[in-house]
């Protein structure tokens, strides 16, 4: 049966093709000039340029963090280009018809049709290709409901007050090495604003793709859900197969006002590198949301890609009775390394958080859960429940759990549980005895292991996530 398990390690990345578009890519390296260039390219107002430059200065004083259970050579920022955009985007397209057909074809290949009529019913999509947003669908329909969904570069011009007010309000400029870098050089990303009391009429979704070689992607997403509003947002990512490592350092900020709810789902499938650990995306992401009174933020992530994943979507439960949730599946194979988890900071009274994390390690990979649950001295009646399970496939991989639990309130209740197991021979044998092939059996058992998380994903994504795991399991059975 160990053959089945071996095959788990040997599957090919499905989204690894390169799109042949002419791009404008600036020379590698980071300096004030580069930042001025990016800002000028986007025609940004002075305040934003100043904001970027300030971040750059802060960043120059910072060191790359080394506390994560990750082992990789120091990232050489001199080799990375901080801006790349398809040439044809110079005069931004007004509608889909003006988008380069090559790009549309790219997304068709990825299974993301951009023509509105073909788009999954009820999902509006913003597409970010290398450093720029290339298209946003269903804009009009959303506008009717008063929902703003557009590239952040556009929002800077059209809704400067909103952007100015909330940009950096959840993840401060100084937050950490990668977030600060993002502040200085962020390229594009999505901006969402849901007005008071509005339930967003459809799922919003952004697809990120890194295409160009030697570029970094630094997108920035800002979602503001005003009082009593509701939104569900999905994010997907892919990149071509390349031998060198590419850096992705994104920042996502969620502002969830009183009684509002944000559901943020990610299916992260950046190129993970090949079976020898060559190439792959270095994914260093800062995601954080702040909940005001009675608000709720729910993070769901399925992480199967990237050579390195460093990511801790967090919730600051500022308002009383607010709720934070984190559901995660992280699958690592070959030489992939993941150090991911969440932070739940309970500030308000009766705040609640739930953490369900499922880590699956195979091949020679390393998979770590790192989490923090903090109960402040004000967090009367707060509760947390954490369940953290690891599944090991093969004897070359490793699984780790680092949950930090800090409490300063006697009326706060925290429960944490973690288990580690492997796909048991008995379970596999039962499946085989019932005629189910070994490959299918492993895939079923792994999917079963992740069930609690998958059920949190919106329908379309749940299917996609399930398939992603299956693709990962495909391979020869000896």
């Amino acid at each position: 049966m160990s053959d089945v398990i071996d095959s788990y390690v040997k599957t090919e990345y499905q989204a690894g093709f390169v799109t042949d578009v002419e791009s404008e890519t600036i020379a590698p390296g980071l300096s004030e000039e580069v930042i001025r260039f990016i800002s000028a390219k986007k025609n940004e107002p002075q305040w934003l340029l100043d904001w970027r430059l300030n971040a750059f200065r802060l960043w120059q004083e910072m060191d790359e963090p080394d506390w994560a259970k990750l082992d990789y050579p120091k990232i050489n920022l001199d080799e990375i280009s901080f801006y790349s955009a398809p040439k044809s985007m110079d005069d931004a397209p007004k509608s889909l018809d003006e988008v380069d057909p090559e790009l549309i074809e790219t997304y068709n290949k990825l299974g993301i049709p951009l023509h509105e009529q073909a788009v999954l019913a009820g999902v509006a999509v913003d597409v970010v290709f290398d450093s720029v947003s290339i298209v946003t669908t269903f804009k009009e329909k959303l506008a009717e409901a008063g929902v703003i969904f557009c590239p952040i570069s556009e929002a800077v011009h059209q809704y400067p007050d909103l952007v100015k007010k909330y940009l950096g309000s959840v993840v401060p400029q100084k937050d950490n090495y990668f977030a600060t870098l993002n502040c200085a050089v962020f390229s594009d990303g999505s901006f969402v604003y849901i007005p008071k009391g509005v339930r967003c009429p459809m799922e919003l979704s952004t697809y990120f793709r890194i295409n160009e070689a030697n570029t970094g992607q630094f997108e920035r997403t800002l979602i503001v859900a005003d009082e009593g509003s509701h939104v569900s947002y999905l994010e997907g990512c892919t990149a071509p197969m390349r031998d060198e490592n590419q850096l992705h350092a994104a920042v996502v900020e969620l502002v969830c006002m009183d009684d509002a709810e944000i559901k943020y789902s990610t299916v992260q499938n950046w190129y993970p590198g090949d079976e020898n650990g060559v190439g792959g995306i270095y994914n260093f992401v800062t995601k954080r949301g702040v909940c005001h009174q009675n608000a709720k933020i729910s993070w769901t992530q399925v992480e199967t890609g990237s050579a390195i994943t460093w990511k801790y979507p967090s919730v600051i439960l500022r308002g009383d009775n607010s709720i934070g949730e984190f559901y995660s599946v992280a699958l690592t194979r070959n030489y992939q390394q993941a150090d991911t988890g969440t932070k739940m900071i309970h500030l308000g009274k009766n705040t609640k958080s739930t953490i369900i994390s499922k880590g699956i390690s195979a091949g020679k990979s390393s998979n770590a859960y790192r989490g923090l649950v903090r109960m402040s001295p004000r967090a009367d009646g707060a509760r947390n429940f954490t369940q953290c399970d690891s599944l090991l496939i093969g004897d070359q991989c490793s699984a780790h759990t680092f949950p930090y639990i800090e409490s300063k309130h006697p009326n706060a209740i925290i429960e944490h549980e973690a288990t580690t197991s492997k796909v048991s021979d008995d379970q596999l044998f039962l499946c085989l005895q019932r005629g189910i092939g070994a490959e299918k059996a492993v895939s079923m058992i792994v999917n079963g292991f992740c069930k609690e998380v998958f059920k949190e994903l919106p329908m379309e994504f749940a299917v996609e996530a399930g398939k992603l795991l299956e693709v990962s399991l495909e391979g020869s059975v000896g």
Binding site: S390, Y404, I405, S407, K408, P410, I413, T420
Partner: protein
């Protein structure tokens, strides 16, 4: 990011520094192994700076206080036998070994003739014993705690306790440590090595007390217990120092094939009690069972860092720690299970539960798993909660007042663990002690 204070050995008095420096220079050719170990540790210690909270091991208890004070070496103090007897546990029939300010005090200790147990100061060890000591101490050197390195440098001697092979020792071996009061800040060191011979069985009780005083007594201590093949050891450690004392200690248990360890920790807290416990499963089929209770109150700090290493296949470990944190006390628990590559069929479970009694109390807990083998069963759990309101209410309806109900429930919370204490005299003593300690619950 600043991760250390630039102070190196400044908190040591001039005399102490001098003594340490002299030791490093004096290399008498014969019997210099101890001198060597001391000077190496001191050199290692000097290479480091005092860690701040940025350093994981000290995240919740930094050593900043050391920059604010100066410590001199504890003097040789003497106490009468009756003074000692007032403080020792009333254990019927024990082999008692007494340490005052870290130093072995033979005149207060039991005669071990014909007992199948021996106590040998390191300085008097024979060649075979030296080999045993150096090999065990070299395993102990890998501590990440720089104060333990300092302990080795400061220990002018140490005590080796050997339990004869294939002997079942009926009486407990009772190691009693007293720190005497002082007028100025003092630091003392102790290292003890217990070797449980092949196929032997013994009971080991370590008991720490200190006399109350204004000055700070910083006690450094390291115990290494080496369980040879097929041996069994029931170990208890009681930290009952005065609230002004500080102890930074480490215990290392080395478990060879088929050996079995039960270890029980009890601490009521002192100004700072930082305890590192390392259990290394080095031989197949070894078993460990680690239990701990901590009950800090006032402004005390208790910090346990436990690290259980399954270095080899087919070993079992169980760990349960529970704490009740009162007043403005602070407790830190870090429990790591580390399964080495190829340590298949490892079975490791850890549980940590805490009750916070007040708004000012603080608990930081981190159960960790580091796993490099797939065919293993590992689990940990941690909870932080208060005393169950429903249970209090239920008891009230049965006529028990709230304070009493809380007390009963708190004791219930740790009773299960106290039941693991097999030594009867000790069990009675601890049950009374818990009653006293929790009598202030409101």
């Amino acid at each position: 990011m600043k991760t250390s204070f630039q102070v190196d050995n400044q908190f040591l008095s001039a005399a102490l520094k001098n003594e340490l420096a002299q030791n490093a220079e004096s290399q008498t050719p014969e019997n210099n192994w101890l001198t060597k170990i001391r000077s190496y540790s001191y050199a290692d210690f000097l290479k480091q700076n005092l860690p701040t909270r940025k350093v994981e091991h000290w995240k919740y208890n930094e050593l900043f206080f050391l920059t604010q004070a100066e410590f001199s070496s504890s003097p040789l103090a003497s106490r009468t036998q009756s003074e000692i007897s007032d403080l020792t546990l009333a254990l019927k029939n024990a082999f008692t070994v007494v340490f005052i300010n870290g130093q072995y005090s033979p005149q207060h200790s039991s005669d071990l003739i014909d007992s199948h147990v021996s106590a040998t100061p390191f300085s008097q060890a024979n060649t075979k014993q030296i080999e045993l000591i150096t090999s065990s101490l070299s395993s102990a050197q890998q501590s990440t705690n720089l104060l333990i390195q300092l302990n080795t440098s400061l220990s002018q001697d140490g005590l080796l306790i050997e339990v004869e092979s294939n002997k079942k020792i009926g009486k407990p071996i009772y190691l009693f440590h007293l720190n005497t009061s002082a007028d100025e800040n003092q630091i003392c060191a102790n290292q003890t090595l217990v070797s449980c011979g092949t196929g032997s069985e013994c009971q080991l009780i370590e008991h720490f007390v200190s006399e109350k005083c204004e000055a700070t007594q910083l006690a450094l201590q390291q115990s290494v217990v080496h369980l040879q093949e097929n041996s069994q050891c029931n170990h208890y450690r009681l930290n009952l120092e005065a609230s002004t004392s500080m102890q930074v200690s480490r215990a290392l248990f080395l478990l060879e094939k088929d050996s079995s360890l039960n270890s029980f920790y009890y601490s009521e807290g002192s100004q700072l009690n930082k305890t590192d416990i390392d259990i290394h499963h080095r031989g197949k089929n070894s078993e460990s069972n680690l239990t701990g209770i901590y009950l800090p109150s006032e402004t005390q700090c208790i910090d346990y860092h436990t690290n259980i290493e399954h270095q080899i296949a087919n070993c079992t470990s169980r760990e349960v720690f529970r704490g009740i944190i009162a007043d403005s006390a602070k407790a830190t628990f870090n429990g790591k299970i580390h399964i080495f590559k190829d340590a298949q069929k490892s079975d490791a479970q850890l549980s940590n539960k805490n009750l916070l009694l007040t708004n000012q109390a603080e608990i930081n807990t981190k159960p960790e798993l580091e796993i490099y083998a797939d065919d293993v069963v590992c689990a940990h759990g941690a909870t932080v909660a208060k005393i169950d309101d429903k249970a209090i209410y239920y008891m009230q309806t049965r006529g028990i007042n709230e304070t009493r109900a809380k007390k009963i429930l708190s004791i219930g919370f740790i009773n299960e663990l106290l039941d693991k204490v097999e030594n009867e005299a000790l069990s009675h003593y601890l049950k009374d002690q818990v009653q006293i300690c929790l009598s202030d619950i409101k």
